[in-house]
Symmetry: C2
Subunit: 358 residues, 2 copies
Amino acid sequence: PAVLLLPGDGIGPEVVEAARRVLEAAAHAHGLRIRFDEVLIGGAAIDQAGDPLPEATLEKARRARAVLLGAVGGPAWDDLPVDRRPEKGLLRLRQALGLFANIRPLPGFVAAYGRSPLKPELLRGVDLVVVRELTGGLYYGPRARRALEEGGEEAYDTLLYRTHEIERVARVAFDLARTRRPVGQRRVASIDKANVLTSSQLWRETVRRVAADYPDVTLEHLYVDNAAMQLVRDPGRFDVLLTGNLFGDILSDEAAALAGSLGVLPSASLGGPVPLFEPVHGSAPDLAGRGVANPVGTILSAALLFRYALGHEAAAAMIERAVEQALADGARTADLAGEGEGALATEEMTAAILERLR
Amino acid sequence: PAVLLLPGDGIGPEVVEAARRVLEAAAHAHGLRIRFDEVLIGGAAIDQAGDPLPEATLEKARRARAVLLGAVGGPAWDDLPVDRRPEKGLLRLRQALGLFANIRPLPGFVAAYGRSPLKPELLRGVDLVVVRELTGGLYYGPRARRALEEGGEEAYDTLLYRTHEIERVARVAFDLARTRRPVGQRRVASIDKANVLTSSQLWRETVRRVAADYPDVTLEHLYVDNAAMQLVRDPGRFDVLLTGNLFGDILSDEAAALAGSLGVLPSASLGGPVPLFEPVHGSAPDLAGRGVANPVGTILSAALLFRYALGHEAAAAMIERAVEQALADGARTADLAGEGEGALATEEMTAAILERLR
Ligand SMILES: CC(C)[C@H](C(=O)O)[C@@H](O)C(=O)O
Ligand SMILES: CC(C)[C@H](C(=O)O)[C@@H](O)C(=O)O
């Protein structure tokens, strides 16, 4: 199988290289051979080709079996309008590939070995996943900016959802809930602001209708403000959270904070023929080029690549076990190391994981 | 001065009655006499008058010196469209009174005596305030819902901001920053999603321009997803957070979770001739009528009423000290009581605070 690497900006190239080595080793252990190709996206692509998603990048992505991305963006491109920024390359790629469902797991072991800000008793039993709608909502609706006659400007974005967009991502969430827990414990929490937003009322009604096909899964509806509160107060109450694009962006980062570092969290974007895998963290310009970034989020994304793109559960589980073991044995990059604990460089952390692949 | 009470729904009437008693006592202690009037809003107003904001309610609000509100909404009205719900009464009131700036403090003592889910060392030095834009953004933009030819429906809401709407709330945030900390420590964190949203780019540019008038206040810009993470990881880094309407709704509830209970947090809505004060919590239908709700959020809102509507700092501080002292002495309603600790009823908690007014 062919995997396209899109290192992107900032620490992207460093963490993608780390994950590539782990992918290769896990494939080798299972008698698989992965072919890698690598192209530009984001700020790096703007600088070289004048476009955050050059046609050649999109073409290669379409022909790959899966895409592994690092991160995009950084202060060098901060003054560009939203339609020409590095981030736009990623947004266009997600849409062009039809990746409407973004899966962001907070696995229990990550919460346990990270440096969570929460009291330890609140972390017991935490094992949740955010299913975020990824190609609609406020990120993609009509937008404009214009001068006003009376002086000043106005600017708007539109949060628009259609029934079928909500339905298909809801099905992903309910199907996923079925794979995670035994009958009687399957739960989906759908997040909206249906007491204020018209689009949220359509969201809520549609999710309720889809839920009727899954009588074994318990559905609850939470307002987004309440969800933001509950995630901190009692994260163990959640299993699958189903959200629109913007709410999922906010809540998944909040959930990630519970792990103590964004650096450890993976994501999978599904829905089209070519899935995309990327860590939840960003390009972290302050760490770039120093060899100290945490590669775990990207390495766990590589595990998701085995699971969701190649259907290879054994290789996925092998990587996840190796990461869990390395963390349990005390391997820590700077973001996770406590005061006075020695911190590993990116390469050392990667080596610690590679050693434990078995 | 005349204060209009709007008890609203659920636990609203119970907590407003508690706060009324404290207002009266603190006024009395300072030789002030407050006249109270009380009218319907929200679901109660829908049931009696067919409108969540009857004309008579709005008229009385316009003529009052300040409004003290409990909460609106509840499951009884959950199937109504957004434009006819109890919440709409509150949204229309905020807009009719021109209350564009909502102030939501998380005072340090509340974080310390609550039941915070955070590790204690992270709470040291926490003392922040969210300044939320309250009459614009996604809550008030054009919206519609319609059937699609190909089947299903679409629904949208619009996030729209104009320069002057951003400017005026930014000034409130910067002015407030000046009153809170000495020169050298004044900070405003402006929250947006300027890497994706056009409206956020206007937000960021406008806030930056306003900041030029406040050289003594340090401005930083945070993406909303990053802010949601930082609030949990390191809440002590924040002083004033400046947000749009929706982001402020989400982040202020998240910040409130750090206090261990929504029940203790107050808010003030300013910008027009008649300010509005209300607790951050909702109508909590499950607690309604049982006499167990936490009145502290509404009582601290009464303190803000003295401060911002009556310009009476001494009475405000008297109430805040009494609350702080009652909590320090172990007075706890059920939401704050630990396992096996006795919990006070609403009236007992109110009495504990009244006793300490001095
Ligand atoms: C980089 C940015 C456009 C992106 C998003 O908001 O989707 C990121 O925050 C994420 O969560 O994947
Ligand atoms: C009740 C609701 C409309 C309201 C809001 O979202 O503004 C509430 O959540 C709040 O935060 O005051």
